[in-house]
Symmetry: C2
Subunit: 566 residues, 2 copies
């Protein structure tokens, strides 16, 4: 069942839910006129449907492998990568001064959405590169920018981020990789990094590793960490490739999914590196890269959900099983199958709307310099990441369920979606860490960004009250409950607040999703049924979620290790 790019939905969300018109009205993104948007989406959609989607099964069945220190990628991936780079898609949001298209993040997000549906394993590669480009744009010296960014945008070189070490996962500050000054302005990087996505490949001329390491005078913890560019092959000032650097791939992981994406253990043995940004300020630079990547990973969840939904819907319409309630003979007639499909579509629409609203906020923050937009982007990023990847997993689960017994058979492909998407709820900060970020750092404004969104949700409900009273009323009440829950959360400290972080994030996404659906219904009445499904069937969950928020931590910590082991 071939993937079909959801061009209509993407355009609709941009135009009627996420507020893309505001972005196109700025000077910075004046080029993003409707014709350009249409052309970009259509062209990217065609690439995804025709070239990338056919690679997805091959990547799963023929994983990337390590042969004599060289990573051999899955069949067709080299050609797929070439097609991505030739379309200029790596640099869609990158600075035109270096060869990028300079288009809004909202458009880049739409393109990533489609690429992730088509072939998530391969899409991870340019996603990593996009994150590195952004980190370099913000933090690197002019010389490094000029040397690396054009090659990354053109796709001649690929990029990775090297954070994790065996003893330093979520706790990045525990890393042990060292950087010794060589006296010529460069550094010798030594250490081992794990879980390095696309740590190497056999289709790009170079691989540019951004590596977190500690200088000799670096403090313990995160404040003593610096960031280094450590290329696989050392370029001269003009970008001509010279000697191989002293780094290599030790092994590739045997993973539940994403078999086409080589996940490497990387060894750096006094590899030559160049400082990016200020000494000891590596975490700040890495956060730039990670914030971009967090939205990108949230979209990966939506991508897989979309692909899983399309396949499940096609299966449900084709699969005949005797008499069915509506007489078609296909299982889509069964109320519970229809319910599952409705839930899948409603969640995808809500998550995509939130992700694109986040991207629009990023774009508006950049284009206008308005701190309120930046605050909104910061607030929405962990929601987009965690909710997008949670529903990615839930929708892929339902996709298997709609297939019945066939869903458990690998040839069907439904199970691959569930396997591939699993890690998106873990990498780039687990969804638990996203939630702690939301209720911690992102509410240090006293909840201002949260309350502004809640105000908008309530205003939206008011505006819809005459057209859709059965939707506007429950949504307004849910927003009020969310306001109360937010105040309760803000009154909590530390562990109490963290204990409710995951339910709070989900409750926020539920209510915000209802808002997006209602906006959609107001803009196009044919979307009211999906909005009704979301608001009347899924939204009520917010009550139970907010009840958990109010519970605080004591009941959780009462379950001591001894109680849990009993």
């Amino acid at each position: 069942m071939p993937y079909r790019a959801p061009l209509i939905d993407l355009r609709f969300v941009l135009d009627h839910v996420a507020g893309f018109a505001d972005v196109a009205a700025t000077d910075r993104f004046a080029e993003a006129v409707p014709e350009t948007v249409e052309a970009i989406l259509t062209e990217a959609g065609r690439l995804c449907e025709e070239t990338l989607a056919p690679l997805n099964r091959a990547g799963d069945m023929h994983p990337a492998r390590l042969e004599n220190g060289v990573v051999r990628t899955s069949p067709g991936f080299a050609e797929g990568y070439k097609a991505i780079t030739e379309g200029g898609w790596v640099g869609i949001a990158a600075d035109p001064a270096f060869g990028g298209m300079g288009l809004p993040m909202a458009l880049a997000t739409c393109v990533n959405d489609m690429m992730g549906s088509a072939c998530l394993s391969l899409q991870l590669n340019p996603l990593m590169t996009q994150g590195q480009i952004e980190a370099l744009e913000h933090h690197a010296s002019d010389a490094i920018k000029a040397l690396y960014i054009p090659k990354l945008i053109s796709g001649e070189w690929c990029a990775t981020m090297n954070l994790t070490e065996a003893q330093a996962g979520s706790d990045v500050g525990a890393l042990r990789t060292r950087a010794e000054p060589l006296g010529d302005g460069t550094y010798a990087i030594t250490g081992q990094k794990i879980f390095i996505t696309w740590g190497d490949n056999d289709f790009s001329a170079n691989v540019c590793h951004l590596v977190l390491a500690r200088l000799p005078d670096g403090a313990a913890g995160t404040r003593g960490i610096s960031l280094f560019m450590v290329p696989k092959i050392i370029p001269d000032d003009q970008g001509a490739l010279g000697a191989r650097n002293s780094l290599n791939v030790v092994s590739l992981e045997h993973k539940l999914g994403l078999h086409g994406s080589p996940t490497a253990v990387m060894q750096f043995d006094a590899a030559r590196g160049w400082l990016v940004g200020e000494p000891h300020k590596g975490m700040a630079a890495m956060f730039t890269m990670m914030n971009n990547a967090r939205l990108g990973v949230g979209v990966q969840g939506i991508s897989v959900a979309e692909a899983a939904f399309q396949q499940a819907l096609a299966y449900a319409m084709e699969r005949k099983q005797g008499k069915t309630p509506l007489g078609s003979g296909a299982i889509i007639d069964h109320a519970d199958v229809r319910r599952m499909l409705g839930q899948m579509k409603a969640e995808i629409f809500a998550a995509r709307s939130i992700a694109l609203a986040c991207a629009v906020a990023i774009d508006m923050g950049r284009a206008t310099g308005d701190a309120a937009w930046a605050a909104r982007a910061a607030f929405l990023t962990p929601i987009a990441k965690a909710y997008g990847t949670d529903i990615g997993n839930e929708v892929a689960y339902l996709g298997v369920q709609v297939h019945g017994g066939m869903g458990f058979i690998e040839e069907t492909g439904a199970a691959q979606f569930a396997r591939d998407v699993r890690v998106t709820a873990i990498y780039e900060g687990t969804n638990g860490i996203q939630a702690m970020d939301l209720v911690g750092r992102k509410m240090m404004d006293g909840g201002e960004a949260a309350f502004r969104l809640i105000d908008e949700i309530e205003a939206g409900a008011e505006a819809a009250r005459s057209a859709f009273p059965d939707l506007a009323t429950p949504l307004w009440h849910a927003a009020e409950a969310l306001r109360d829950g937010t105040e309760a959360l803000l009154a909590q400290q530390g562990n109490d607040r963290n204990a409710g972080a995951v339910p709070y994030l989900r409750a926020f996404a539920r209510v915000l999703g209802g808002h997006c659906h209602l906006k959609a219904a107001l803009a196009d009445a044919s979307r009211a049924d999906l909005a009704r499904f979301h608001i009347r069937r899924l939204l009520p969950e917010h009550g139970a979620l907010l009840a958990q928020v109010r519970e605080g931590a004591s009941g959780i910590y009462a379950l001591t290790p001894e109680v849990l082991q009993a």
Copy 2:
């Protein structure tokens, strides 16, 4: 991290939650005195810990395979099977007249629970045989009983159930396999069956297939189906094996999980079969087998949840990640990790309690002949199956999440639990079908079985009001809401009722689970914290679930295929 049999929890649930004392007080099960129960559980637990659990990874990494028509099982499985049979575990609940132990289903369920944790792929084999034994006990002629049951109990022969065909999955009535009388009282069975669990093996002398097929005068649909015993090798009247029957394994499926369990496509080419039960009454006999198997599959979900929980808990206590809120340095200190572990344990306790309450009801129905017990068993079976396997999947998901990035790496084993358990929500009737069974057939009594349980839940809450007011009050209100929801459901017909079936089943499990936790707290105050976690954090979900029940089908069917495709 080795599996540890949860002997204390199993004993506690039997004695203080599920009402096993009533079973032991019957004449039929008078042998099930505490010493016997203790000995059975201890012995089975040792087998699971020492012999079966070490096979689990090998089964995953070295799947059963088909070589020249012969199924080669995973390394160690033959020895594991031998150990199961030597312990007499296949026939734990079978009729002593044929060599069974004749013990209650509640005890058999505890043993299956542990075996499923240790090695689900292998446990499926005796589970199938147990189901066949029960079907034969109820429906077969004395000659077939005498010939087959002792060999199945001893484990000399294994058993399968052959229902599904490519075009006949959930719609069994669409099957095309034919049975032609041969004139000597036997039949020639011809057709192809798919998804045949343990369709063959290399460690039992024979494989006894129970096959659904249609006689020449059989009506279309389920009313024209008959059941046949079709052995792989044809025995004489004394059980001595003679000629090979004309059936074979065409292929084995490449599955998401349960790699150690060979799932076969079976071809029957005029294979010789013996009628079991009356002509055209095959579905009734099959339902006997399936009802047994449904509880068994529900327990499989609990089994995997238990194993996944144990591993995640051990990991969370060992994994150090910098400063943690309680200062231990291990990630179990983090509120959200603790929350996940608490949810895992609370769900396992609730699901195990419900499964054992169902088993007790089966035992009481058999021992007393009281229709009310049989009605309770029938009502609880779909709940035990669907809720047990739903939480099996949810807990395994959380188990991966607790492991962070390591959870995505296959060597860790956390992902295998998630892959293995996935199909339990699908086979033996998808969980959607379980829910339709609950709100349909199981409520043809006008809700009597449901209301009797709700009455007990409310009485339990009343009894706990002084000891645990913060638990008894919300539980009592939840039971009242469930009563109202049940009445609302009973007022619905057809599609409207089916549309709310899955949320209704879950709501019932939520409230019933709260009841079980509260009983546990009353019996042992050290269990109050887990009960509090369940009642205050998980139970509130029932409101949103019952809201879905009230919505009926119209909002679901408004999402037409055209709307879903848009």
